[in-house]
Symmetry: C2
Subunit: 480 residues, 2 copies
C-alpha cells in the first residue's frame, strides 16, 4: 500500500484504523491547540448536509434558529446545582479581558440552558408568548482530560442545541418525541445507521432533566455511541430561572421545557460503521461528492474524445442534481485517483476509457461492494440515480445486520460478563430498576444502561446482577 | 403610538430610534452578559439568507467551508508582531480549564490567521497542494470597552473569514478582487445598500496586510460603516509561519495569501439605511418573511370564506417559492397585526376583507411606500412577484440617493470641517498621501480616510489639510 493509504485493517486495529481513515481521507486533522481538532472541508461539507436536512425538519415544525453568547457568567451556571456539578469540572474559564482581570469569570458555553433560560424569563409573559421553539448551531467546549479522539472526544465540538418552552407537560412531552423522531430519521435515513431509541435511567439522564430520551448506535468494536438526546426538563429550570406565564385564566404558571442536541460525533459514527480497509465509505445522501468521473487517457485523439465524453456526462449528472466531480487533473494517474477517491468514500466512480468510448458505455464502480458494472452512455444518469439509492440501502442493511448481530440476550451475570469481554455489543437483560445495582454493574464491568425501551418488555429472568425480581428489560453496553 | 411601537423619529434621535427598531422588531436583544447580544430568530434568519447567498458564490469559485478551533495559544498571536499589537488589547483570555490553571493562556479567536496558517504550513508541500481556498462561519470575540451597540459593537459577533494561499502574487491579487466583487454583489443586489469600494490607506489597513480593500456604506446620520474587507497579505504571514511550497521547478517558495471577512454588522446597516418611523424595512431578497397575509374577519359565514381565500392565496404564493406567512391568530386584531408586521419590516402585506372577497380581489400594502393597490385574486402571485422586485429596486435607489446626497467635494480644510460638523457624510478631497497629514485630520476631526478609489482621479486642489501638492483623491468620513 502507498503511504497515503490505510496501513492497518479495520478488524485488526480498529482504533488506529479509525484515526488513519479520519486523517488520510481529509475529514479532519489535529489542531495545534491541545485537545482540539480541525473540521476540514470534507467533514464540514457533511456537517452542512446534516444541517440542511435537520434545519428543514425543525423549521417545518415551527422551530427557529438563533445565536446566544458564547460566554456564561459563573453565577448562572451555579443557579441550578445539579447542572453546575455536572458541568463545572469541564468548563474553560475566561478570566481576563484585554489586560484586565474580569470581575466575574465567564464560562465558555458547555451547553446553553442557563443563559437562554435567563432570557426566556424576560421574554415570556403570557400564554400568547408560548411555545418558544428555538435552536442554535454552535460550538461548545468541555475541558476533556482524557486522550483526544477525533470527532468523539475533543475539547471543542460542533452541535445544535434546541431549547423549547411550553404551557403544559403534555406539549413538552410531545416535543421531546417529535425531535427524537426527527433525529432517528436523520440518522437512519440519511446516515444509514440504525439506532435503538428509548429513555435513559435516572443515573444516566441529563443533569437537571425530568427524563432523557436518546438514540444509541453500535460500533464495529462492540462499543455503543450515543447519537443524540432529547430531554424533558419539566419545570426544573423554569423554577430556578423564574420562567412564568399567565395562562388563559390569568393564573401564573411555570413553563414546561425541553432541550435536545446532537453533535459532530455522528460523523465519527459514519466513519466507524461504514468505513472499510480502503478508507471512508459515505452514504450517498450525505456525501459531499456522490460521483467522481475519472477519464482514463490513452492516445492523442482518443484522449480528447474521452475528455469530451467525460464533460458531457458531468453535465448530464449535474442536471439531475447529483453532486459530481470530474477529476481531470493531469498531474496524477488514474490509479492514484482511484485510491484517493476511495479513501474519501465517494459512493460511485465513473471510469471512461478507450474501450468504454468505443462501445458507447461507461463503467460504474461501487464504493461499498467494489462491484463494477457497465451501462450504456445515454442511460448513465438513470443508472447512477438508481445505484446511489441501492448503495444507501445496502449500507443501512449492513449496519442493521451489525446491530442485530451485536445484540445478545443474557440471563445471568456470568453470561453478562463473558459476552462483554468476548464480544461486546448491546447486552439485553432484565433489571430490578435499582440504581445501586446499575452502579455496581458499571463499576465492575464498565457497562452502563444505554437505553430503556419505550415499549416495556416483560422481564425474562431475575435481575441480571442482584438476582431479585426484575421490573424491566434494558440494553447495556460499554460506550464511547 | 402603542408601547410596542417606535416612540422616536428616525430623523430626530437616530441612535435611540435604531435601538428601538432592533429591539422591538425582534431582531436582537441585549444578553445577560455584559457587552454581548442575542441574535434572535428574526436577525438570524436574515443571516442565514446572507450565508446561503455568499456560500453559493464562494463554492462556485472553488472555496470550501471548514471549522478551526476557537482557541489560539498566546504564542501564536505573538508570532506576527503587528498582528499581535493590533489585537491583543481586545483579547479575551482563557486561563483555567476545569479547576486547573493552563500552562499557556489561550485567546478566544479575535480572527484566525495565526491558527490557520500554522496548519497551512503543515498541509502545503508542493504547488499541487495550491491554491488553498478555505472559509469559516463562526463567532469572534473582541473585548470592547466602549458602549455596546447592537450589531455594530459587541464583544462577540458572527462573521465569515476566508483564508487563501496561492503560488503567485497575481493569483492572490485576483482572489482579493474576486471576493471584493462578491461582497459588493451581496451588499448592493441583496441588501440594497450601495457602497464605495477601494483600497485602505497604510494607516487604515489590516494589521499584517500588504494592502486592504474594503466596501464602505453611508448611514443616514452621516457616519460611514465598513461592510467588509478583503486583504492581500502578501508573503508576510507565510514568512512568519514558514508556509513554503516546491514550485514546478522544484524550488522552494513562500505562498501568497489573502484573507477576507464580513460580519453581522451588515444587518445593522440594513436597519439604519432602510428603516423608517414605523420600524424595520427589509429588502425582499433577504426578508425571512416576504409577504404576510392578514385576513380581516367580519361576520360568521363571511369570515369562513375569507379564511378559505387566505389559505388559497397562501398556497399559491408558496408554490412560487415566496416566503409567506398567514397570520390567522384569533387573539390579535388586524390593526395590531398590521403594526407588528410593519415593525418587523415585511415587504408586502396582503389584506383580505369582506370587500375584497366580494370583488374577487386582494389588497397589497407596500412596506416601503405604504401604498396600497388592489389586484385580481387570480393575479396575486404574479403581482406579488413583480412588487417584490419593485420594492427591492426602490430601496436600492433610495439608498443610492442618500449616498450621493451625503457625498460632498471640498477644497479647503475649513470647508472640510464645516461639512463634517453640519452634515457629515463622505467628504471627497485631494490629499498629499502623507500619513502624518492623515493622522492630524483624524486627531482634529475624528474623520478618517475610508477609501482610496481604485481608479485614481486627478487631484482637483492642493492637499486639503497641509496645502502641499496632492497626489490622490480620497473619501473621508467619521465612521462606526
Amino acid at each position: 500500500m502507498s503511504d497515503t493509504g490505510i496501513t492497518v485493517r479495520k478488524n485488526e486495529d480498529f482504533s488506529e484504523w479509525y484515526t488513519q481513515v479520519v486523517l488520510k481521507s481529509g475529514l479532519a486533522d489535529y489542531a495545534p491547540v491541545k485537545g482540539c481538532m480541525i473540521f476540514r472541508e470534507h467533514s464540514y461539507a457533511i456537517w452542512e448536509k446534516i444541517q440542511e436536512i435537520f434545519n428543514k425538519k425543525i423549521k417545518e415544525t415551527g422551530h427557529r434558529n438563533v445565536y446566544f453568547p458564547l460566554f456564561i457568567p459563573e453565577s448562572f451556571l451555579k443557579k441550578e446545582a445539579e447542572h453546575f456539578q455536572g458541568f463545572v469540572p469541564q468548563v474553560a474559564w475566561v478570566t481576563m479581558g484585554g489586560n484586565s482581570p474580569l470581575e466575574e469569570k465567564l464560562a465558555i458555553r458547555p451547553t446553553s440552558e442557563t443563559i437562554m433560560y435567563a432570557t426566556y424569563a424576560k421574554w415570556i409573559r403570557s400564554w400568547r408568548d408560548l411555545p418558544i421553539k428555538l435552536n442554535q448551531w454552535c460550538s461548545v467546549v468541555r475541558w476533556e482530560t482524557k486522550a483526544t479522539k477525533l470527532f468523539l472526544r475533543t475539547r471543542e465540538f460542533l452541535w445544535q442545541e434546541g431549547h423549547t418552552a411550553h404551557t403544559t407537560k403534555e406539549e413538552a412531552d410531545r416535543e421531546v418525541m417529535e425531535i427524537l423522531n426527527a433525529y432517528k430519521d436523520v440518522i437512519e435515513t440519511y446516515l444509514a445507521i440504525p439506532v435503538l431509541v428509548g429513555k435513559k435511567t435516572e443515573m444516566e439522564k441529563f443533569a437537571g432533566a425530568l427524563y432523557t430520551t436518546a438514540l444509541e448506535a453500535m460500533m464495529p468494536d462492540g462499543k455503543a455511541l450515543q447519537m443524540g438526546t432529547s430531554h424533558q426538563l419539566g419545570q426544573h429550570f423554569s423554577k430556578v430561572f423564574d420562567i412564568k406565564f399567565l395562562d388563559k385564566d390569568e393564573k401564573e404558571q411555570y413553563v414546561w421545557q425541553t432541550s435536545w442536541g446532537f453533535t459532530t460525533r455522528v460523523i465519527g459514527a459514519v466513519v466507524m460503521v461504514h468505513g472499510d480497509d480502503k478508507g471512508l465509505v459515505l452514504p450517498p445522501k450525505v456525501a459531499p461528492v456522490q460521483v467522481v468521473i475519472v477519464p482514463i487517457p490513452y492516445k492523442g485523439a482518443e484522449t480528447e474524445a474521452i475528455m469530451t465524453k467525460a464533460k458531457e456526462i458531468l453535465e448530464k449528472l449535474q442536471k439531475k442534481d447529483i453532486a459530481v466531480v470530474l477529476d481531470d487533473r493531469q498531474e496524477y494517474t488514474p490509479g492514484w485517483k482511484f485510491n484517493q477517491w476511495e479513501l474519501k468514500g465517494v459512493p460511485i466512480r465513473i471510469e471512461i476509457g478507450p474501450r468504454d468510448l468505443k462501445q458507447k458505455q461507461v463503467t460504474l464502480a461501487r464504493r461499498d461492494t467494489f462491484q463494477k458494472i457497465t451501462v450504456k452512455e445515454d442511460e448513465t444518469a438513470d443508472a447512477v440515480t438508481k445505484l446511489l439509492e441501492e448503495i444507501q440501502t445496502n449500507l443501512f442493511n449492513k449496519a442493521k445486520k451489525l446491530l442485530e448481530e451485536s445484540t445478545t440476550t443474557v440471563k445471568s451475570y456470568d453470561e453478562f460478563k463473558k459476552v462483554l469481554e468476548q464480544k461486546g455489543g448491546f447486552i439485553r437483560a432484565s433489571w430490578c430498576a435499582d440504581s445501586a445495582c446499575e452502579e455496581k454493574i458499571k463499576d465492575e464491568t464498565g457497562a452502563t444502561i444505554r437505553t430503556v425501551p419505550f415499549e416495556k418488555e416483560k422481564p425474562f429472568s431475575k435481575c441480571v446482577h442482584c438476582g431479585k425480581d426484575a421490573s424491566e428489560v434494558v440494553y447495556f453496553a460499554r460506550s464511547y
